[in-house]
């Protein structure tokens, strides 16, 4: 599915060049859940951002090849990259509240990705059910703009009434009436094809009451619901691969388990590939089939989950495994980085 070879990424900072990735090799097969573990700053997230060219301005891919289904996308055009993002690879970010746009409803945010990557489906659904593709948004502005128009009209009306020239206020009165009329008519608008597909996407991630959630803003939802919305968004474009960048870090333990279960279920249903980035070995043991351990921009070990846990070869991996609290009286031992062989 996704194959990364000798990927090198640098960050240009004032204090000099930081080598965030120093020759990363990864291979993710179709339909497997692949775990990428490592400590903070080891380059896990940078790997996936480099693959999709989502790096911040200071970052730069200097070397390496990225293959997606046998296609070299290292130097792909912007257009091709935009097709891939969301359409072939969906991403879930770690803090769902800050990763969702605070001033757009869930409906708008998921709708966007559907319009971009599922346009044909949208048209087909609209034809089948004889409903409009999108909501008739000809006159629908953002609430702020609508309010501004309203405030202008009301202030002009009051001004003209105050000045004793009420007939000049008639056109403004007319505008206000039109706005109310439009609101009234929109109440009887049939749901558009887009609405139906958004609700469908939301119910796929097992959100209760998707109609209501579709019309709410991100801050009105709980953390678990926000993450489910993120997942729904990543899946909405019918991507064949999902990158989950620490999807459970900002959530509490019970919600974490639910979200991981959801990702596993969906992976099984759709036979997707999943790249799960995490620093939690427990999550890896529970979810993944294969795992790679990263340290200082390099992959130090790559094997199946059973192998890593039963027979770790690399010293750093051993250290990581020893650091897992076992609930015994044995003192926790943090891996001493200076002693490990990778250095």
């Amino acid at each position: 599915m996704l194959e990364i070879e000798n990927l090198k990424t640098n960050f240009n900072t004032y204090d000099g060049v930081v080598k965030a990735l120093d020759g990363v090799n990864l291979k993710i097969e179709d339909g497997e859940i692949f775990g990428l573990v490592g400590e903070t700053g080891s380059g896990k997230s940078v790997t996936c951002y480099s693959a999709l060219k989502l790096l911040p301005k200071a970052g730069e891919v200097v070397d390496g090849t990225i293959m997606l289904n046998g296609e070299d996308i290292t130097n792909a055009s912007d257009e091709r990259l935009r097709e891939i993002r969301g359409g072939e690879i969906g991403i879930i970010f770690q803090d769902p509240l800050s990763a969702l746009n605070p001033v757009m409803t869930v409906n708008d945010q998921i709708g966007e990705i559907l319009v971009l990557h599922q346009n044909a489906e949208l048209q087909k659904l609209a034809l089948e059910k004889e409903i409009p593709t999108l909501k008739s948004e000809k006159w629908k502005a953002s609430p702020g703009v609508e309010f501004t128009i309203m405030a202008f009209c009301i202030s002009f009306i009051s001004l003209f009434v105050m000045l004793g020239q009420w007939r000049f206020s008639l056109p403004f009165l007319f505008v206000i009436m039109l706005m109310f009329l439009r609101d009234y008519l929109q109440r009887y608008n049939p749901a558009s094809a887009l609405d139906l597909m958004v609700i469908d996407a939301l119910s796929r991630v097992k959100l209760p009451n998707p109609e209501q959630i579709a019309n709410s803003y991100p801050h009105e939802l709980s953390g678990g619901m926000q993450q489910r919305v993120m997942i729904a968004m990543a899946l909405a474009g019918k991507a064949k691969m999902l990158i989950a960048d620490e999807p459970t870090t900002a959530l509490d333990v019970t919600i974490q388990a639910q979200i991981l279960q959801l990702i596993k279920d969906i992976q099984k249903e759709e036979n997707m590939s999943v790249l799960l980035i995490t620093h939690d070995l427990g999550v890896v043991a529970e979810t993944c089939e294969k795992v790679a351990v990263m340290y200082k921009g390099k992959i130090v070990e790559q094997a199946t989950v059973e192998e890593i846990f039963s027979n770790p070869k690399n010293d750093y991996t051993k250290g990581l495994l020893e650091a897992i609290p076992k609930g015994s009286k044995e003192r926790l031992k943090v891996p001493n980085l200076e002693e490990t062989s990778v250095l």
Binding site: I84, D95, V103, Q165
Partner: protein, 757 residues
Amino acid sequence: MKLWIYVARRLALTIPVLLGVTIITFYLSYGMGDPLAAYVTERTTDEQYEMLAEKHGINEPIYVQYFTYLKSVITFDWGYSEVLNEEVSDALRYRFAATLELSILAFIFAVATAIPLGIFSSIRQNRWEDHSIRLFALAGSAIPIFWFALVLQYFFAVTLDVYFPELNWPITSRFDEVLWEIKDPIDMNTNFLLFDAIAAGSWIHFKDALMHMILPATVLAYSSMATIIRLMRGNMLDVLGQDYIRTAKSKGLSESQITYKHGAPNAMIPTVTLLGMGFAGLINGSVLTETIFTWPGLGAWAITAMRSLDVSAILAYTLFSAFLYIIANLIVDILYAFLDPRVELSGHSSTAEIVIVSLSILLLVTTYFSVNYAVVLGVIILVSLISFSLYFMGVRFWNNPEDLWLLLLSLGTLFVVWSILSGFFMTILMFLAIFYFGYLAYNWNDLKDSLTPKFDEFKRTLYQIRKNPLTMLGLFLVLSLISVAFFAPWLAPPSENQRDPMRMEEHFSFNQPRNFQPPCYFSCTADSGEVDGYILGSTDRGYDIYYGIVWGSRTSLDVAVKVVFTGTFIAVVIGAVSGYYGGRVDDIVMRVTDVFIAIPGLVLALAIIAVTEDTSIEMLMYALIIVGWPGFTRIIRAEALRIRKLPYIEAAKASGASDFRIIFKHVIPNCITSVIVIATMDMGGIVLSLAALGFLGFGGGPDLAEWGKLVSFGQDNILLGQWWSFFFPGLVIALWALGFYLLGDGIRDILDPKQRN
């Protein structure tokens, strides 16, 4: 439903602010000389004077007078304007339409240009497009409004007239009197001329009104555009770094979709909050613009009133602008609630808020029905407020005697302010420097280790200054103008017998000058026969522009340094204490600043100066400090409020540090970045206000070398082709302000850790 509660709450909160504004305007009227001067002529007998005094309640005690005034305010009996021979409320009603029409057009101009420019500048960050837009924006706030207006007038009336004599572009007034009143009169029902022209269906009238409007609207718009551009750019940069932008990118949206669908709406939210301020800027600016373009609006009317000391008109104007400003901010607040779905609409009112609002309403209602009862109520409220606060302070200091340093601090603040204003400041600064170096020497061993990283930091700062061409330009401008002030005696030597080099009249009378000389640049000797001729020309009174500019830089530097130091000092102390403690102290400080901020700065300064009839440079400084401190304090307080919630303050508290130590060791050093940036910017802003006051004829005596006044000398002779007198001094003001703005902007970028990469 929730929204209506929110609106009602915001409306209720404006009542105490308005009440506070009436206190200020009343105090202004009370503080001036004989309030009956306008009614008294040579033939007034003592008896008549007594009757007048009786009628106007002059002999009553001050609190009775206040409530009488308050009653007249709320019943819209705003007095009679002697200058215009009409009721003030009638004049307001008639002139407000003119001002509003101009302001709305200017506002639309400004917003429609500034927001796209700001967005464009942010997506081209640090490229030449960005640099030029930033320069354009900064120039907008640095160029004095009145100078820009004069330049435009000169260009349209004189320069263009040479090439297109048939264009005949109008540079004064609101409409062509001949057309509108004699040749083809149409109904002026609304007094919004554009509407009237449309209602009458007359293209000629519409064109005429629009042509008259374009120049003043452009001037007004350009000055308020600057703030919006810079804010929009900053907010966009902030928003574009957010996580949800990355999400949008990962969905496969294109750059432009990301910018306009995800970036701009989020960046608009904080921008909208500043639009209220932008409106205040328009009111400030309309005073100057209307005066220059003789626009028959409120601003020009207020200036006429101030020049002839028409008290009722001055007070009415001050009150009215405060009222407008509050309304504009109310609208903006409500708009904000609409734009940002995260805003908690219900908001819960504190007890203090409810008490203050209900007391104000009670007071207003009582005043409306009976002044006497209101006096009793007001005295009861005042006495109980004072005794309550004394009681709480007493309890506090009784329980925590170590908090008495707060009292010492306020005494110390007063002392420093006094010392700066009275000229002792340099002595005290020297003492402070000696103490500081002593402290350094005493702690040398501890300091030695901490110096190396600081040196690195310094090198990094220098590197960043050198890297940014705009900051270098600012530094250059600032340094060269300050050195002009320093080397003034050598650059423009005063005449031998001159006692005070700052007085142009003396320079003039000792120099046997010639009036109205055009600039001769470098060939002065050949042209005028004098060695030190008029390099930059002379005014119609014979004042040497070059001499005025060089010595005027001393006035500017003096005023700017003193006002900025005093203002910043007051602001840092009050802001840090009120932000750190929060609670009751904070409530009181914030209500007081609310009242001061509600009155547009230039208007308040003008009113203070006009009412005290004292145009000395010291009075100007007091006025500028009174106007400036609330804004400073607000910013510092917001910083302190942010800082006090940070974990390291908790840590300091947990390790047993006293409040004094936390405020001075943690809170103030951590908001010093914004203090430096604000102070630098205000070095420019204060000179702009000073020049505006000087331009309007309140500039420290008739012949003090002051840039704004020099500009005003040239104003009357524009049509005679005398451009040098307004052009050069205005240019220097603009360069001064631009230099400090660029420097402040650069410093902010450097000190902001987020900008480093």
